[in-house]
Amino acid sequence: MSRIGVFVCHCGENISRTVDVERVAREAGALSGVAFATDYKYMCSDPGQNLLKKAVAEHNLDGIVVAACSPRMHEKTFRKAAQSAGLNPFLCEMANIREHCSWVHEDREEATAKASEIVAMLVERVKKDKKLAPITVPITKRSLVIGGGIAGIQAALDIADAGHQVVLVEREPSIGGHMAQLSETFPTLDCSQCIMTPKMVDVANHPNITLHTYSEIENVDGYIGNFQITIKKKARSVDMAKCTGCGICMAKCPQKKIPNAFDRNMGMRPAIYVPFPQAVPNTPVIDRENCTWFKTGKCGVCQKVCGPGAVDYTQEDELIVEKVGAIVVATGFELYDITEKPKGSPIKGYGEFGHGKIPDVIDGMTFERLASASGPTGGKILRPSDGKEPKQVVFIQCVGSRAREKGISYCSKICCMYTAKHTMLYKHKVHDGQAYVFFMDARTPGKGYDEFWRRAVEEEEAGYIRGMVSRLYQKGDKVVVMGSDISVGVQVEIEADLVVLATAVQPRQGADTLAQKLGISYDKYNFYSEAHAKLRPVECATAGIYLAGACQGPKDIPDTVSQASAAAAKVMTLFSRDELEREPIVAKVNEKNCVACFYCKKVCPYGAVEEKEIRDRNGNLIRVVAYVNPGVCGGCGTCQATCPSKSVELDGYTDEQIVAMIEAL
């Protein structure tokens, strides 16, 4: 390549104030291989781009360098311009003489010299540039949603309503997630079940949604547009096709004393059960760990009473393979459990709150079940130890959250609001009761949230005490809470009937294992990381995988639903095309040189390197070489730097291009 054009931009005065652009153009013109060099006030403007196009035609240019701003800003603009001038867009390079030069150096002479050198480096680089063709990959227009909470449900419904097939995978026997457990929701105090269950039914009835409950993701292969998912459907021991959901099996099951996890272990359920009456699908599942048949081989009552003969003890876990083009991860959260110190977790535990040994110290979700009309007490607030109505309730905020010394530094976001809601629910049900809240800050930034919190404090007279609790202990049938009120500087001691801890929101257990299967990144708390905190908040750095809800960080319902719809919109954008075009910055293997050491395969973060067999005409295996799947390759180039035989090359960043730049130093 020998006919390079150099276009130096003034950027108004941004560059020309400190860089002598005319001199830069002049010096560039003298470089070997440069056929044309000029400067212009605004290169990115329409006349600027036209100037560039005209020069390409007039001077028969076969490569261009635009010396202007950062390529992060306008590389696409100029590559497009080059393309419309008939050049391959990848024969256009940008020399960043604004962000990296004129704006950071005041001395005109120094800045001009540096700008000239930067241009010279890029001129050498462009000489080694190769024409690259965009890569197209076909898209499978089906999507996978992992997690059947409100985030997953919303995303699945949005995508399905747009006419695309959705596979929804939920770990539990029923969809619904945490929202189905809630009594009322802030800041409107509308009933969670009333707004949730119709959506759950919509999911079950939607012709475009395939629902796999009691299932987990076993394996993920492939890349954007072409994922292959293996789902493990755990044995339900009940044939979903035959079951009518009559419930006789549950009523007749002799084993009835199993703590109900949905009711936070306060109620009891049989061994064959649905998690809650409104469960979707309304098909029971046998809990094999507690079922007498599976433990001793005797019983079989449910099978005997089942009219349609749906109970099947011989059912086994099955593996299902689904092909999808996009994945929405919506695995949600769980509450930090103070009863145990999680293994391998940075969290140090809460000994001062009795490690959860005092029965009347409960967490927010347990209180939620107590207050819920569908809960174990039918909506009456009764304390777990003796079933009495508590007259003094202490709520403690920030248990686990915002406690760096305990291992979690983030704010769990929803606790201020749900505690305010709890004080209200309590007051509505126990009129002569008194609620106290120990808090550090009240964080209520959502729409209508501050008004709601004020209502709790001012109208419902919740006693807000600014300060933390140092210790609590059992005294008779009371729980003594010792803390301080820092706004007046006194010690406070309250003899409470019930203590509710607003424990930290954490990602689901196993969130890291799933992330590793998906190849997405997660932070030190195991929350999933978005591609860009501000501009790409629902995408993962791995293309084709999107995030919704609390798996990304603590979120309330409105935020979760918004993000779920946003993720669905991203999926629909992807599905609006039949083929996917991506930047051709991918690695290629020189099969002649490859010695099949597969170091590249070991270091590839995307699993893009495959083993390729080379056979002769008769089909005899000659040797095995590495092959980079261009659809999977992310274009990091780690393979190239690792390859001992120099057989891999990343397009756009070849050794030749880099060395040319270094040689021009």
Binding site: H105, V603, G635, I662
Partner: protein, 161 residues
Amino acid sequence: MKHDFEPKIVAFVCTWCTYAGADLAGTSRMQYPSNVRVVKFPCTGRIDPVFILKAFQKGADGVLVSGCHPGDCHYMAGNFHARRRFAAFRKLLEFVGVDLSRLQFSWVSAAEGGKWVEVVTELTERVRAMGPMLEFKELEIEECWSGKIDTPELKEAYNNI
């Protein structure tokens, strides 16, 4: 301010973090020495140690390699590979006898314009104080003496070292 010796610093940076960090330093109009030349890579994982040798050989007095913070890599793990590779490479340089102070490895995120300025300024000042990098230039001249090229200029240059 002009000095007697202006070192050449080459910065090998990844496009997602450090390049963007340097852009931020620009948009924030932070000032730093003009000695640095940036070579952009998709990821620090792409940076072959040979490039560092090449840079020194081509007259760089200091080399900076900078990428995303651990855990922030756009390509998930490229910076970890880079870190490991450079740990080994520095050992090699040390063994060969190149002063390690001329090679700097750092993490600069897209939000750390200030840190970019700090790192570049520090390295420039340090290398300036160390003087020109001669080890590779000597080697090059040695090579020339071994019979390939033999010019009076080179002979003189060799005698002056």
